[in-house]
Amino acid sequence: MTDLSATDRFSPLHQIHVDGGASFTDFAGWQMPVSYGSDLAEHHAVRTAAGIFDISHMAEIQVIGPDAAAFLDFALAGKISAVKPMQAKYSLLLTPEGGIIDDLVVYANGTDEYLVVANAGNRFAVVPALVERADGFDVQVNDLSDDISLIAVQGPSSRAILEATAGLGILEGQTPLDELKYYWSTAATFAGSNVFIGRTGYTGEDGFELYVDVADAAALWNALSAAGAAHGLVPAGLASRDTLRLEAGMPLYGHELGLDTFPAQAGLGRVVALAKEGDFVGRAASEAGPAVGARVLVGLTTEGRRAGRAGYPVFDGESEVGVVTSGALSPTLGFPIAMAYVDPAAATSTSLTIDVRGTRIPASVVALPFYKREAK
């Protein structure tokens, strides 16, 4: 049984999940739904129809003030000042040594107001780092995580579901959902309060993420669920979220990303804007790059049904050349997939194996992502 401690945190939607038959897992100190019965069914629903996820554990940090853009250009690896109002951008918070404190999504609400969305487990690393880096900038860093709930609706039917949701209306002058591009956002109202909607997600499908006041989260979840019933929408937990993001080749902090990982090793060199003007935290280390011979992230596929999993060693012949960081039997593809850090020479090897609990299983290096949705 899960041991609950006094420090466990519960989503504002917790009772809905209990009533929905969810099983729970600890995630960064939060008791979050891992599935509502069948994680495979939830995975397939997101690929073919839609799933609704409670990701209220994510951290939302507002950055506001005349220097907000310049500050984020300094504090983060990306050129945030080039992000247009209502656009979103995937970015990284680096250490001075070039390692990754967190991967983030930054939404520009205007030219002097941004919302930085961080992983739940990194909230208390990201907020102090931003506050410290704000020294000398005319900017405020406000941790709004306790006030904002985050609901993701993901899957090919997600737009139709949002459009059919009673009480959810796009604000006058804001982009309607049918014109909203991937990695852009819009503003809506629901039951008289503001809802901020990003066409973003972590599943490799079309989808939306809805930021809502915690007081309105349950009503919004129920309205989305009611509208989604006719579209095959199912509640989906963290287990399917993990297999979905793995198929989409998206890194998970603590698995593919960490303080000792350079973005370039993770295939995220493009996220570090070395061409932007001015200094930023981690610039010198990023320009120098990882050490020669540093391991690189690759995608691996194997035959059969036994998946290589986080921590399993990767061999090239008899030499241990790497380690798996995430792996599962891909529900969509039907064969095992894994991400692994391997020595650079092994990234082109055709004789890799994964040691799956004592059995060496041949593995092929493939380009990421493993799964890409069909373009419309």
């Binding site: 049984m1 099983s23 891992v34 599935s35 069948s38 994680d39 495979l40 069914a41 995975h43 287990a239 993990d242 297999t243 049904r305 036994r306 998946a307 999993r309 599962a328 039997l329 529900p331 609990r357």
Partner: protein, 123 residues
């Protein structure tokens, strides 16, 4: 489907149905729920000699791997090919069609009753 109350259990979340000198072994619904959707089952070969407590198989879900422990000293009489072909039986009918192996034995170790096992998972 066996009556859960008449089964015996181990702390490793396996159930044992004793019939003469044959023990039928499966994992409990609690264990199946904790694993999530089972996608791969590896069972010992018929005829293999197993020792109580030894790992003799694997039950793998999308998100984790569970080990199958032999609950008794004995010889594997039968492995359930149906769950190898369709691992979802472990989730849909853990106490019935989702059984895993049958083992012949001469002596039973101490096992948990239904009430004792229920108390264990309620902790």
């Amino acid at each position: 489907m066996a009556d859960e109350k008449t089964l015996q259990y181990t702390a490793e979340h396996e159930w044992i149905l004793v019939d003469g000198e044959t023990a039928t072994v499966g994992i409990t619904s609690y264990a199946a729920d904790k694993l999530g959707d089972v996608v791969y089952v590896d069972l010992p070969k018929v005829g293999s000699v197993v020792a109580a407590g030894a790992i003799v198989g694997e039950i793998e879900s999308t998100k984790s791997v569970g080990e199958l422990f032999a609950p008794v000293d004995g010889t594997v009489l039968e492995a359930n090919d149906a769950v190898v072909a369709d691992p979802s039986l472990v989730n849909s009918d853990p106490f019935g069609d989702g059984w895993l192996i049958k083992v012949s034995f001469s002596a039973l170790p101490a096992l948990l009753t239904f009430d004792e096992y229920s108390a264990l998972v309620a902790e």
